[in-house]
């Protein structure tokens, strides 16, 4: 977390899937994975389809990486610098994204605990948080939360938010499903 004026912004970790095309040579896979660790990415899984070949005769490899959005950009750049063919990058495993605004005594009621409780529902991650407390943290403040979730997870996360909000007497301003057009 870093502070910017009266705002606190946290950059949370996202999960990304990267599809790489490797030349069928010894050591190629290891060479590919190095830039990920070097740039602060956390390797979640590797799917190495050795029996399959791409139309160009390369071996497709699917890598799941956890990183902040900024670090992920560095990872992709480093992979490309290293001559690795990155076929598809940046497509998140998360298929749902939902933004809510919370208002009330957010700081006095322990905002980190509120965020943790949302994460603990296991269905969604808090991707980023912006806090606005123009009258100081002892007064009523507002926070905008962006949550990312897998299919169906957003509703569960909203449920968790509603529950915490009721308990801590916070107001939840939810998005309007279906009303976006």
């Amino acid at each position: 977390m870093y502070e910017r004026g009266d705002r606190v912004v946290s950059e949370a970790v996202h999960a990304y899937t990267v599809r790489l095309e490797l030349v069928d040579e010894p050591g190629e896979l290891l060479r590919t994975l190095e830039p990920i660790a070097e740039n602060g990415g956390n390797l979640l899984s590797i799917f190495h389809e050795r029996g399959n070949l791409t139309p160009r005769g390369h071996i497709p490899v699917e890598v799941d990486v956890e990183a902040t959005p900024e670090r992920f950009d560095d990872i992709v750049a480093a992979l490309r610098d290293a001559g690795v063919n990155v076929v598809r990058a940046g497509e998140e495993r998360y298929s749902e994204e939902v933004t809510v605004v919370l208002t009330g005594h957010l700081v006095d009621t322990d905002l980190s605990d509120t965020l943790q409780r949302v994460q603990q529902c296991g269905q969604a991650s808090v991707a980023d948080v912006s806090l606005s407390a123009p009258k100081g943290t002892g007064d009523v403040s507002s926070a905008r939360l962006r949550l990312v979730a897998e299919q169906g997870g957003a509703e569960a996360a909203l449920g968790a938010i509603r529950e915490v909000a009721t308990e801590k007497d916070l107001r939840v301003i939810e998005p309007l499903p279906g009303g976006e057009a």
């Binding site: 605004v101 208002t103 912006s130 407390a133 123009p134 507002s142 309007l176």
Partner: protein, 315 residues
Amino acid sequence: MKLAIVGAGVVGASTLELAGKYGHEVVAIADSGSAAVDPDGLDPAPVLARKNDEGTVGEAAPDAALDADYDVLVEATPTTLGDAEPGFSHVRHALERDRHVVLANKGPVAERYGDLRALERDSAGEVLFEATVGGAIPALSTIRDVGADHVTAVRGVLNGTANFVLSRMAAEGLDYEHVLAEAQDLGVAEADPSFDVQGTDAALKCVILANVLYDDEYTLADADVSGIEDLPGSALELAAEDGRTVRLIGEVADGEVRVGPRLVPEHGTLAVTGTRNIVQLDTEHAGRLNVSGRGAGGPETASAVLADVGRLSRR
């Protein structure tokens, strides 16, 4: 059609004033303490002048309007919750005399829909209530035309006062108290704005929509309601940073009725500004329909009342 109007507030008075322009005549009007009755049709100007000067509409007792010889009773007394009285008794009286009823009062439709429909079944009269949802906006008649079975969800901005407060807060960066005081000065908000800012008024309209959509007996108690009272400006500011804004949205979908502040795209269809209302229908075969316009006001609401009278006259 011959009309008797009960309730001489802004809607009742405007209906009296405009009825002639729509080809109808008003034979009686009552406020809480008096009535004016003329079987040959009332001249609106002296009645309205008297209401303005003396606070009464005529010499007769209020019940005289209910007993007058009319085709349609226009019920425009203030909305009351619970037993929806005295509006409900006025409706009963008219239906028992086999007369039609047009409601501008939300109480009987929102709180006693089952009782209302039962009375209507035993009567030769019919009950219409277009004016109860969204003022001038033809929300209920659009649902009737599309067919309630073909409407899968309804959502919208149904309270002009709350919408005025939210849109001013967002546009000017002012806080809730400041904007509310301004709205009261402008006559947009009442001295006691709780009915509007706590979401009750929008919820009653959603309950009415649910009753029409599902042909069921929803009441205010079935709605999940939260308002916009004391909403901090910082919430609107954070929403705006993300290209969104906050509106008090009523929703009727999947058998649920909800009213509360929601995030909507800042320049989206539902982010109407000022006192404007909007009703959005999701339909089975016709996609999405949006109807917006003035959700309150004397002549606007009277036009919805007179549209109902027109429908009855064509039957």
